[in-house]
Symmetry: C2
Subunit: 254 residues, 2 copies
């Protein structure tokens, strides 16, 4: 294993151990000793990557931005739907992302500014929605900035409720419902029937494509799956979503 | 002061001191000794009302249901809008309600089942939305249960974002935006223009009416403002909202 790959893997092991520790003991109740014991690494390996518990928490919070896979779909509103779908799917499958979201939502002695992670999502969604407005996808009078803040807030609460009620198993269904209710209030009527809000079906396609890629000859455990941090936005995991979208009828705003 | 009124006031003082203590130190960092010192009460007075810190936290969580003022508006969708408006206004002004919401959203050593407070809101909103469906206010195919869970989730996240960005000062504006975006996706088109989503204006009317009531001759500090817990749902604070609504044009679903 190349040295860089080993470093990425060690860092990921620390983040996963920290995510599990914070989940069980809470941030304030957790210690680097406990995180070390779960990771099976030496204290030297830990301190090579992170000087403190606070630094690990900061990395977990920052990992939320790495999960913002920017879609390349021509229809910008479809791009925002795809972004939330991918993010919801990762929340279901990635304990490191879940830990970052929890550190953001909760008030602990970890005193990072709490706006940054919301702002990361707001920047990406806001940019897509301004594109949607320029392409004539939004209803007149609908302000991209206001819709952006609504989506970020609503998604934050929806994933929280899905966690409490169903350990996030029904999250894709809840995000799909959000879009069905929301689109008539923000999108031009001619576009709404062409937007694909069936997130559960698409994520299933997505997951199968990932499995196929991992099972393909030449795929080695070191090479796939890559950690999310090493995957450039708009490639990798987002490809199956984009491919599934391309198979649909072409859509355009009228 | 009658004995019962004094007991209600003492209980409220404990809850307010606990709300401030949890806010500063977090639930896990707070102690009954610290809560006592902030309330200025004796330990005997505290234990008369609450046997433990856990019991105080449970009362704070339960106070969320007391803030669910069920509106009596004929148009049920207007009732749901009014309910969220009143709840948002109370979040801005009531530290006890804010503490209950935080204990619900965050994962601490306080191990109450976390579904109950969401379920209280879901029951009230669900009942109103089933009424809306019976009255023909909802679009065909829109399921009251699904809309209910969306509103509870979205509201939870929106108040969280408003807290982080603006200490909840912009909460009424954010809730108003939620309704403007959401209504075209759930309400019959003829009803949408008749629904009043200008929550900021109505809450200002509401607040002025409360101030007038407090300044009115005969109002004593003991009698007004009543603690939220002592006020039956559908009366008291909800009256000005209902009165403001009645001054509008009559609306009906078509």
């Amino acid at each position: 294993m190349a040295q860089q790959q080993r470093a990425i893997r060690t860092r990921r092991m620390i983040l996963e151990a920290a995510a599990a520790t914070f989940d069980e003991l809470g941030y304030d109740g957790a210690s680097t000793t406990e995180i070390l014991s779960r990771s099976g690494l030496t204290r030297g390996a830990l301190y090579h990557h992170f000087p403190s518990k606070e630094a690990i928490a900061a990395a977990l919070v920052a990992a939320q931005d790495e999960a913002l896979v920017i879609p390349t779909h021509t229809v910008k509103l479809q791009g925002v739907i795809d972004l939330t779908a991918e993010y919801a799917f990762r929340l279901q499958t990635d304990s490191v992302l879940r830990a970052g979201v929890r550190l953001t939502v909760e008030q602990t002695s970890f005193s990072q500014p709490k706006i940054a992670p919301y702002q990361g999502a707001a920047n990406v969604i806001g940019s897509l929605l301004r594109g949607a407005q320029e392409r004539g996808e939004l209803l007149p009078g609908v302000r991209p900035q206001e819709v952006t803040e609504f989506i970020v807030g609503a998604f934050t609460g929806i994933q929280l409720l899905s966690q409490v009620y169903d350990n996030r198993r029904d999250l894709l269904h809840r995000v799909s419902a959000m879009w069905r209710f929301l689109l008539p209030g923000i999108a031009v009527p001619g576009l709404v029937p062409h937007l694909d809000t069936d997130i559960e079906r698409r994520c299933a396609v997505n997951a199968r494509a990932r499995q196929d890629a991992e099972a393909a000859p030449g795929a080695t455990p070191e090479a796939t799956p890559e950690p999310a941090a090493a995957r450039p936005a708009g490639t990798g995991a987002s490809e199956p979503v984009a491919a599934a979208s391309r198979r649909r009828e072409p859509v355009k705003a009228d």
